[in-house]
Amino acid sequence: VKLVIGIVRPEKANDVLEALYRAEVRGLSMSRVQGHGGELDRVETYRGTTVQVGVSEKVRFEIAVSDSFVQPTIDALCEGARTGEVGDGKIFVVPLERAVRIRTAETDVEAVTPVDT
């Protein structure tokens, strides 16, 4: 079981969701984050105050998947989030020690396998 973390442009978040849905990746969390990843700073001016803003809005996806789903998840994130410009984001894959589904106490692979409803 792995945790796939994808940090993407907010305007591409819907495209990512769509790609994940097509790849049959069902369980995920997303949150708004701010970060800096090498893109150029933007300058904003409010009356006499000029500031250089070094962080940009991003959306962070967290997706716990069984090993066979890692590559499809990465592919979906790339497909949905890529524009080709600096600032498209990053994907991190980290090992997951345990996963527990709270409702049933199922663990690990069972816990991250979607239930048929």
């Binding site: 933007r42 300058v43 000029t50 803003v53 070094g54 962080v55």
Partner: protein
């Protein structure tokens, strides 16, 4: 607009006091529209959307001063006014012909109409049109379309002398903006995500507050369009209260039937639709017919609002439905239900005067055609010399950061002060390419 037969030669203090107030009320409608529109777009385009309305005040006031007023209100030429009032030449404290208010006040009141009409069209092109291009468009449109339509309907042009009744601007303001908006949406093109992603209003409270302030200002808009405190003005003022309330009732019912819930943004839209419906008819129909107009007139507008998003036409904030369709309906309604017993001028078909309906139908055909055609041509020509819209990258980033270098909801997180002491002196522009 009525030009009373009795040519008054003296300024009336009561009329003037009311018209000064009404002018301020109408000016407030433009920032109110900015708030209304800003709530309807995504948060990254809040400021740009609001700024298009503010820009309309800047641009249209200047063009109005320069030539707009003269072309609209100098003389009674059929198609266009003269140039005797260019740069407000000879516009002073003497009463405007046919009114009891100084021509300066008359000019200022009419200027606020031109301003809000320009601002209205921006609703068709928000979230993608280049700000600079919009400024040029606004300047040219205010003269080539607004001043011409205002002359036809208000300034003694062919529609007015033909007998078409338009109390407060169904022709130049409502049909003028609504059908121009459709042309603008077609020429500028849809937002890149339109039809692919859900593009939702980001703040429904702005939308409701903007609609409320618009309604408040509309009492000056309609109530002032008699240029006096006379009966027609009183009638228009009161009808401005009645018709939108009735549109709200209809809208609630339609929302309930269609989605089983009454929506807030629907309610805000219903207020605008009601105000627009009564704009041309305000001083000409009885309060009872004003209620009927509110109840029934909302139906075609609702139909257009439901139909439009199913098309490929990204007329983003539905100016065509809320202004074009409602203005069209209001103009025609006069032809049926105008009542000389209330307005002292003319009856409609229901009271035995079929020819009034013909005069109204003529305006309802010609004004949309002129507004649509001229705007289409104008934007096509502007498109030849400069880009109409931002790049896809700029559109994704948002118009606020791209064109204004500001955010509506700046948090200050990650912002480094640029000052000589901080050592950060050279601003690095955002890379949009």
């Amino acid at each position: 607009v009525i030009e009373p037969i009795l040519a008054a030669t003296k300024v009336d203090t009561g009329d003037t006091a009311w018209m000064l107030t009404a002018t301020a009320l109408v000016l407030m409608m433009t920032p109110a529209l900015g708030l209304f529109y800003a709530g309807l777009v995504r948060s990254k385009n809040t400021l740009n959307t609001f700024m298009m309305c503010i820009a309309a005040i800047a641009v249209a006031m200047v063009t109005w001063w320069l030539v707009g007023y003269s072309l609209a209100f100098d003389g009674t030429g059929d198609i266009i006014g003269g140039l005797n009032n260019v740069a407000l030449h000879q516009v002073g404290f003497e009463p405007r012909t046919g009114t009891t208010i100084p021509e300066l006040v008359f000019m200022a009141f009419q200027a606020t109409f031109c301003i809000i009409t320009v601002a209205l069209i921006s609703g068709a092109v928000v979230e993608r049109m280049r700000f600079g291009t919009f400024l040029l468009f606004a300047a040219l449109w205010s003269v080539l379309v607004y001043a011409v339509l205002a002359h036809w309907a208000f300034g003694g042009g062919w529609l007015a002398s033909n007998g078409t009744l338009d109390f407060a601007g169904g022709v130049p303001v409502e049909m003028g903006s609504g059908f121009s908006a459709l042309a603008a949406a077609l020429v500028v093109g849809a937002r890149k995500d339109y039809g692919r992603q859900a593009l939702l209003p980001h703040n429904a409270v702005y939308v409701l507050l903007g609609a409320g302030l618009l309604w408040f200002g509309w009492f000056g808009f309609n109530g002032g369009s008699g240029f006096s405190t006379g009966n027609n003005s009183v009638l228009a003022f009161t009808n401005t209260l009645i018709t939108p309330a009735c549109s709200l009732v209809t809208w609630f019912a339609l929302d309930l039937i269609r989605g089983r819930r009454v929506t807030a943004i629907g309610a805000a839209t219903a207020i605008i639709v009601g105000c627009v419906l009564i704009t041309p008819a305000g001083g000409f129909i009885s309060p009872a017919w004003a209620m009927v107009l509110g109840f029934l007139g909302a139906l075609p507008c609702y139909a257009v609002i439901v139909w439009r998003p199913r098309t490929r036409v990204d007329e983003t904030l539905d100016v065509l439905a809320a202004h074009g369709m409602a203005g069209f309906t209001g103009i025609l309604f006069i032809g049926f239900f105008a009542q000389a017993a209330w307005n002292g001028i003319s009856d409609g078909w229901a009271y035995g005067n079929l020819s009034q309906l013909g005069d109204q139908a003529l305006a309802a055909m010609v004004a949309p055609a002129y507004a649509f055609g001229m705007t289409f041509l104008l934007l096509k020509l502007i498109g030849l010399v400069m880009p109409l819209r931002g790049s896809e990258r700029e559109e994704a980033l948002g118009m606020d950061v791209t064109y204004h270098g500001e955010e509506a909801y700046a948090t200050g997180e990650g912002a480094i002060l640029v000052s000589p002491e901080s050592g950060v002196e050279e601003p690095v522009p955002v890379r949009a390419g």
